[in-house]
Symmetry: C2
Subunit: 600 residues, 2 copies
């Protein structure tokens, strides 16, 4: 695989002047005074690693990104979190990452910028406590700077993340990790290149609920550079959070972002909205993930990274389309067969869906991808009116083995309105009707509902703790999570019992009392603390917008709940408007944005 910097994938360049105003007459950016930064995020190394077709996808695209960095001679690479998909990546995955970073980021290319800030503060949590290119034992050509996301957040023994590991190898400059969760004061990494000054603010992922509350309570601040040329710094903030407006505590309100910030690079959201958008005086660029980790519409938007150039208070972003990304065609399709006899509906439905899929495969083939002929991802959402139109989607997919990368889930049926049909289909999918119902869409819901039943009530453990641990396990393969929660809750009860020291025959009653006294508010806080020192369970999910087309940008492929226009849904979760899910406050990360399709 090679990257040609002269190809036409380098397109749309956005140039914006000082004071955050787009400038009609672009300033000339002198070579020696400009920072050239490759911006990318949510690379999710190791996603679907064991899939025989897609197993290497994340590595290939990461390699392409690094090759672009080399070809464009960037000063450094800036990543917005979720470099890894799993909390504990496999040796294969870590090995791949190390191999690629050593191949492309070490070498003799000189570093043409300097660091002005106190590195011991910027990299306080790392072993070396300094930028890698100042380590005399390493020959760094392109430094990589990264925050952590919700997938590679600190976990397990001593809260060591895969990102810490990369920092220890000296291949990544891991920044923006906060220990004090009661308030956040972001100290920037101050960089200087020629006449340009850059203040790089990093805010690694933490619970949206917590961060939202901190913003509301005005406990998030950015430290000014504290130098004479303070006003001359270009202030760049990198974060990895929900961008959607989801009630007062569940997102980062753009107007809460300090006015001094010139540009935000937004990680975590998977759809590419890299063209800077001005929101409440701040420009936001959202590169989006480099591979699709769900078969949702948002993930089908062309994947791009950016080359951000900064000269004094001016910046521009050159967008680079990623060519190794597996083609992904997403379509909604309505089975409108008004003049067809009932007994022929099935056959006609099959035929028209088959034709549609063929067209989609052709579309995919027209995309200019490397290697040529790479199997595409196809997702057709077929909206039906009559059950007669529905057939076995998995069996249907079998005919595309060898032509499509995801034959098992090409097709998804969605019932148009009719709640009765919806209910019928849903019931069919669960063997045990005891758990079936409009809310039981996810394993954690099933667990929670099971234990909420009085006859299955837990006394020492909390059902919420268990469910959150299961979610953490499913989403990031954090297989210690259930154990950590259980250990913590056992210990807590044990400690309280010791404190109360009841007689032997009173112990049981005492435990029941302790259980009843447990405040669910505090319980939730604690669960979050145990599961991650700084971010609680963080998940993508989907809430339907009420007046515009919703786009899923879930980062959990297997958990796609099937989203469509607001009047059609197969998810057993009732369609709700933003804000109506306050009762499920324990799931901070479920917020989801609604947006118009970006011009790809």
């Amino acid at each position: 695989m090679s990257y040609d910097s002269d190809n036409d994938s380098m397109s749309e360049s956005t140039s914006i002047g000082g004071n955050n105003e787009p400038i009609a007459d672009p300033v000339e950016f002198p070579e020696g005074d400009q920072f050239k930064i490759l911006i990318a995020t949510d690379i999710h190394l190791g996603y679907k690693e064991n899939d025989s077709i897609r197993g290497e996808d994340t590595y290939k695209t990461f390699e392409e990104i690094l090759q672009i960095g080399v070809a464009c001679e960037v000063d450094f690479i800036l990543l917005g979190g979720d470099l890894f998909h799993d909390t504990k990546p496999t040796p294969y995955c870590i090995n791949k990452c190390i191999g690629l970073l050593r191949k492309y980021c070490l070498g003799d290319k000189p570093i043409n910028f300097e660091i002005l800030s106190d590195q011991r503060i910027n990299f306080n949590h790392t072993v070396s406590k300094q930028v890698n290119y100042e380590d005399p034992n390493l020959n760094v050509a392109i430094p990589v700077f990264s925050i952590h996301g919700n997938h590679d957040d600190p976990t397990g023994k001593n809260q060591i993340s895969a990102m810490d590991l990369m920092a220890s190898t000296g291949l990544v400059n891991y920044f923006g990790r906060w220990e004090d969760l009661s308030k956040v004061e972001i100290n920037p990494i101050l960089l200087k290149k020629g006449n340009s000054l850059l203040a790089l603010y990093g805010l690694s992922h933490m619970s949206d609920q917590r961060l939202g509350r901190l913003f509301l309570e005005k406990k998030v601040s950015i430290a000014k550079p504290g130098t004479l040329e303070e006003e001359e710094f270009f202030n760049l903030l990198v974060l990895h959070q929900n961008r959607a407006v989801r009630g007062p505590k569940n997102f980062i309100p753009p107007d809460a972002i300090p006015k001094d910030i010139d540009l935000v690079m937004w990680g975590h959201e998977h759809d590419c909205r890299i063209t800077p958008e001005k929101v409440a005086d701040v420009f936001i660029t959202q590169p989006g993930s480099s591979v699709a980790t769900s078969l949702s519409e948002g993930e089908s938007i062309t994947k791009k990274i950016g080359v951000l150039t900064i000269y004094k208070k001016h910046f521009k972003i050159d967008q680079v389309e990623l060519r190794t990304v597996r083609p992904f065609i997403f379509e909604d399709f309505t089975l409108d067969l008004p003049n067809v006899e009932m007994e022929q509906q099935l056959e006609k439905s099959k035929k028209s869906i088959r034709n549609r899929v063929e067209v989609m495969i052709e579309k995919a083939a027209e995309l200019n991808r490397i290697p040529e002929g790479i199997l595409p991802l196809i997702r057709l959402r077929a909206h039906y009116k009559h059950e007669m139109q529905v057939f076995n989607a998995i069996k249907f997919g079998q005919q595309y083995v060898g032509r499509v990368a995801n034959p098992e889930d090409i097709l998804k049926f969605i019932c148009i309105s009719g709640t009765k049909q919806k209910k019928a289909i849903f019931d069919k999918t669960l063997d045990d009707n005891a758990f079936a119902g409009p809310h039981a869409s996810r394993v954690e819901d099933i667990i929670l509902r099971y234990f909420e039943d009085n006859k299955n009530k837990l006394f020492v453990l909390s059902a919420k703790g268990l469910t959150e641990a299961v979610v953490k396990y499913i989403d990031t393969n954090d297989d210690d999570a259930p154990q950590r929660i259980m250990k913590h809750q056992f210990q807590k009860t044990f400690d309280k019992l010791k404190e109360l020291s009841p007689e032997e025959d009173e112990i049981e009653d005492c435990i029941v009392n302790l259980c009843n006294m447990r405040s669910s508010q505090n319980d939730e806080e604690e669960i979050r603390e145990v599961l991650s020192n700084r971010g609680e369970i963080k998940r993508e999910s989907v809430i339907l917008g009420s007046d515009e087309e919703a786009v899923t940008i879930s980062d959990d492929d297997d958990r796609d709940t099937g989203i469509g226009p607001s009047n059609s849904s197969v998810t057993p979760l009732p369609a709700k408007g933003p804000g109506s899910r306050g009762g499920r406050g324990s799931r901070g990360g479920r917020a989801r944005g609604t947006r118009k399709k970006a011009a790809a």
Copy 2:
């Protein structure tokens, strides 16, 4: 922690002259012509990582080893496998290892030897295909050379081991990995320092059965240096195998080791026998593990590493006692209370055991360890005659919380001869008597016996495959092992069915026939192939010697089956002499050596 090279822990130095004969009058080793090599093995990083007391033990001792390397200004460090305890070490563990290696092995110290052999052959399986100190992007001060052991052998996707990962970081020169399992021809790494020439032969762990057979079939050979000064090379072989004589196929017969080898550094065996022993014309040094991973007698022998100095055909080994190793006192104790009334036996037994443990704790305190007052490991094997003398060992241990590192398993009762008592105790330990019996000592035995029962017979999967996968999982935390085996066996049956293409109603019969045709010999071979490309399941276990005291050197702490003199045993496995376990040939690694206690 600091290491003082002038302390008195540097003791016993063994000097041996050319032609493998100890020399009375030691040759002088000129500084510029001698290789100075730190030799250590079985460091088992991450062992008991989650234990609140012992969690950091492996890291502390590894740090001490590296500090010794720095203090002694060795040319390089040579490791004999099992640097990691788990197949998939946690991010914390990998992070620790990387941090320590970067701290002690990078730097400006010049490398005073050169490599003469073709590095692409020596390091063919690594990304860089060269020694780390020739990488222009790394500043290596002390190169580390290592083979892999049975704990860090290749596994999972693309057979990537933790050792590969370390090779990719550039911190370890991983050698001696063989792809072709039908024959082994070991190509040496050829090194030259001044007038000394060293041929370093590495043989990473593979199944003892396989390797034993290859030796018998004369399919193991060492490639001569192939240079003019061929005869002048000092030939050093590193391997990680069973050393015990365990029937024709289950060990490495010392007389099979090529005559040209001057010295073998033997990994895998945990007891320290670092003083070179001459066996069939070859010298063998066995440094032993750096931490105890079981509470067996062999592990209680003083832990040492060596500084091996080689000058032309001469070598000597300076032994260095490890001072960070947690004190471990092991004792056998016979409850001989002939003149005590039956009703007083219990109390007297408790009292004398308590006294004994106190003495052992005092003994531990006298060991010169860092930090002072570190909690010791204590294991008392109490041999009893009457059941009256036995009490709850776990409850007994509780009184030593805060004084001993392993209160939960300080005490082990062993019945002297009397098989009746033995059976009674054994039955008590199993809830379900259906599985109880003289042979059901391990989970894999229970699984195997369950499925060997005709009414539980498996047709597509093989019980052997399942048990071996479970063993692999338990011993090295290789949690993919069961899945790999199942996938493989399903696929195999599926492929055969496709080949035979039976009618739909014949499929079931066909599967039964395929199952009956399955040869257990081939089955075992395949299982090994699937579980590891080169080594099958490899485990430590214990077989009682018939005429001398057996010493356990198991590397599976939790699986200590309680070994004692040949006439006393609590293990439900009947005591057998070597070679009598041919029927369980699938477990190549169970072999175990018997030896006299080394002079510590």
